[in-house]
């Protein structure tokens, strides 16, 4: 596709439910990032992939958060046993090797009720 695609755009989950958020990066983009953005705040780094390798997961807030990119393209961010504080917009971004500019998707707004 022409840009980074995230699905779903909106997700409402009941507390305790598991959710999976999908990111389709721009074709050929090696690097992939996930961010969590609370209302009115800046994006907080969650994790970073280069191809299928997860090089940095230091931003994942708890062991309920898990990200994967098994074939080096599509990535999934999974949140287990969701809690209210997980409510946020989750942004995905990708970039080419050798180009530091990151291209962003429109995000998934997660609301935990």
């Amino acid at each position: 596709g022409a840009g980074v695609s995230q699905s779903p755009r909106y997700k409402v989950a009941k507390r305790g439910q598991d959710v999976a958020l999908r990111c389709d990066p721009i074709s050929g983009h090696v690097s992939l990032f996930w961010y969590q953005q609370a209302l009115g705040q800046g994006p907080e780094f969650l994790t970073y992939f280069q191809n299928e390798a997860q090089l940095d997961k230091s931003g994942l807030p708890s062991d309920r958060f898990f990200a994967e990119r098994p074939e080096g393209s599509v990535s999934t961010l999974k949140i287990q046993r969701t809690q209210q504080e997980d409510s946020a917009v989750y942004l995905c971004a990708s970039s080419l090797v050798g180009d530091p500019e990151a291209f962003f998707g429109q995000g998934t707004r997660l609301t935990v009720v």
Binding site: F33, Y35, G40, Q41, G42, P43, E44, F45, Y48, L55, D56, S58, V89, L91, A93, P100, E101, A102, F104, Q106, G107
Partner: protein, 111 residues
Amino acid sequence: AQTVTQSQPEMSVQEAETVTLSCTYDTSESDYYLFWYKQPPSRQMILVIRQEAYKQQNATENRFSVNFQKAAKSFSLKISDSQLGDAAMYFCAIREWDMRFGAGTRLTVKP
């Protein structure tokens, strides 16, 4: 890890005037990249301007320019001839391997 600080939560500018948004950062690397991104209410992050740390010349993109002070670790954004469409959240970011953002500045443009 690198950090980014934006000390102005909100800024306001009159249409056609100039405004400067501040950003400071911290990094232990000598090679990195700096960015300003714009995020309108639609949530789509849009690149405004980028600066390579090894370049001394300040980047410019039409009405947008930066003042990059490497020794001071400062990277401010100047918007000239402000337009109503410039109203948005502006985020400063630094990239070494991964990319980190500041908390953002909400820019309001008054007609």
